[in-house]
Amino acid sequence: MYAWFDQIFVRFGEAVLGWVTAYFPGGEPLARILLSVGPIAIIFPLIFAATTWAERKLLARIQNRLGPNRVGPAGILQPVADGIKTLTKEDIVPERADRLIHTLAPILVMVPAFLVLSVLPMGRNMTAANLHIGVLFFFAAGSISQIAIFMAGWGSRNKYSLLGGMRAIAQMVSYEIPFILSALTVVMVAGTLSTTEIVASQSLALAAAPDAGLLARAAVHLANTVGGWYLLQPWGLSGFLIYFVAGLAELNRSPFDIPEGESEIIAGHHTEYSGFKFALFFMSEYISMVAVCGLGATLFLGGWLGPKPIPSWGWFFLKVFALMGVMIWVRGTFPRMRVDQLMTFAWKFLLPLALVNVLAAGLWMYLPSRAAAWLLGGALMGAAYYGLCRLVRPPKTGPRSYRYA
């Protein structure tokens, strides 16, 4: 029963494939492609719509407001109303803008957002493209979005857009290094770049005694599906924290939302976009957020692994939603950083910490005893954190001098 429910989508896909090969011989490759692409193209926009609503509700709760509550029960249909609104808005291109680039940017920004989803294992046997270089592909495809943001910033011919675009790519290039280094530790320990194999490497294979009671068997099952998560190892814990912080910066989300800081530069590279083009940018941001949370869950939280009553895809999306909830919580809690703090934090704090973390992962791999690895790895990360906190001083800022144009 559980296995059937766990594989329900896989079975459905196989059934459709069988039907297609029976009635349209030769249509099989196309059907395979559609079966991989279709669910991604349908489910993630829906998740995007739900996330916008959830974020507004959650932020409202944090700020002691009500949030959207007019359209549908508890405002649940608000995303639909927003969608209709953006679709019917006038599409304005600034007169002096570089038309081609201005139009191309919102289209290009969607490409990496959807591409990276293809390597996420969303459940047992549920990876759209099971590449053997999955993790590398994720980062490679993700790095295309910087170019799209630059095109949006430059093509708008607006100083706020340009400032926002430059801030965005400076930030994304800087945070990409700790971002990748934190994922590198997992690749080192798992010994593979494939996302499915990374998830598989996080499951344990302890066997319960044949005469064990129900409780003991359940405990062994829990240990098998949860005990192997990389989060539960010293380098994995610090790696996950580095990944999460750097991921927030990669997504330009609060407290790293400097590129869009509305109190400083209106809306950054979005400033000159209206209507559907703006909706595309908005959508790509939220879908990238799902993707970064999904890779975080895959690398550190055991992907679709989890104890039994909940199916594997249920676990994956539970973890993703939990991580997204934390991101929204962070947005409601922390104030925005300054540009100088941002760069200092990336290059002088996060990057050395990520490098020490790689060393800790190496210790974990080669120290014979787990206790010694825990002690040494934990001590190493603790010392690095403490030392960097003491060493890295925030940049000194003198009194401000204002110049009025």
Binding site: L131, F139, I144, I147, I169
Partner: protein, 170 residues
């Protein structure tokens, strides 16, 4: 398969030509990024997915951003569309020389004796490359690490703003 190759070939060559012939500097840089993407696609068709992904990560993700930054830092936004004389005086020599080199290389290809068929390797073995990097190729690998560190420190040292410079030319 062959049609895909020709599509990519046309895309890459067209982006390359655009990158060297557009007058607007930013358009050149964006065409160049498309060129890098085309090269990555070529590597994918050659079943070297690892190299293709590395190509995108390094060239599209890092080097082109560096180029865009350099363009933005060294010119005012108003001059970016600078249309005055983007080509050097000897430009015709350059075009002719480029065409000649292409002709020579293409002519040389006529002497390719056999036309080998692709080998059976389905994909580039990433684990094997990793093993080679720490065994047989360890020395170049370390040299590369040294080079990249030196480049990082060196470029930061060269590009850092000297306060005395600022005083001289405002």
């Amino acid at each position: 398969m062959r049609a895909v190759f020709y599509l990519i070939a046309i895309w890459t060559a067209a982006s390359g030509l655009l990158a060297i012939s557009r007058r607007n500097m930013i358009h050149c840089a964006l065409a160049l990024i498309s060129f890098f993407g085309g090269i990555a696609a070529l590597l994918f068709t050659l079943h070297a997915d690892f190299l293709g992904a590395v190509q995108i990560l390094i060239y599209v993700g890092a080097i082109s951003v560096l180029i865009l930054f350099a363009l933005m830092v060294t010119q005012d936004a108003s001059r970016l569309g600078d249309r005055t004389a983007p080509f050097s005086r000897g430009k015709w020599t350059g075009w002719i020389l480029g065409a000649l080199v292409f002709g020579m290389l293409g002519y040389g290809l006529n002497f390719l004796e056999s036309s080998p068929s692709p080998n059976a390797a389905s994909i580039l073995p990433v684990a094997e490359i990793g093993r080679l990097l720490v065994t047989r190729q360890a020395v170049p690998f370390l040299a590369m690490a040294l080079l990249l560190t030196a480049a990082l420190v060196g470029s930061a040292a060269v590009a850092i703003e000297e306060p005395s410079d600022d005083a001289q030319d405002p």
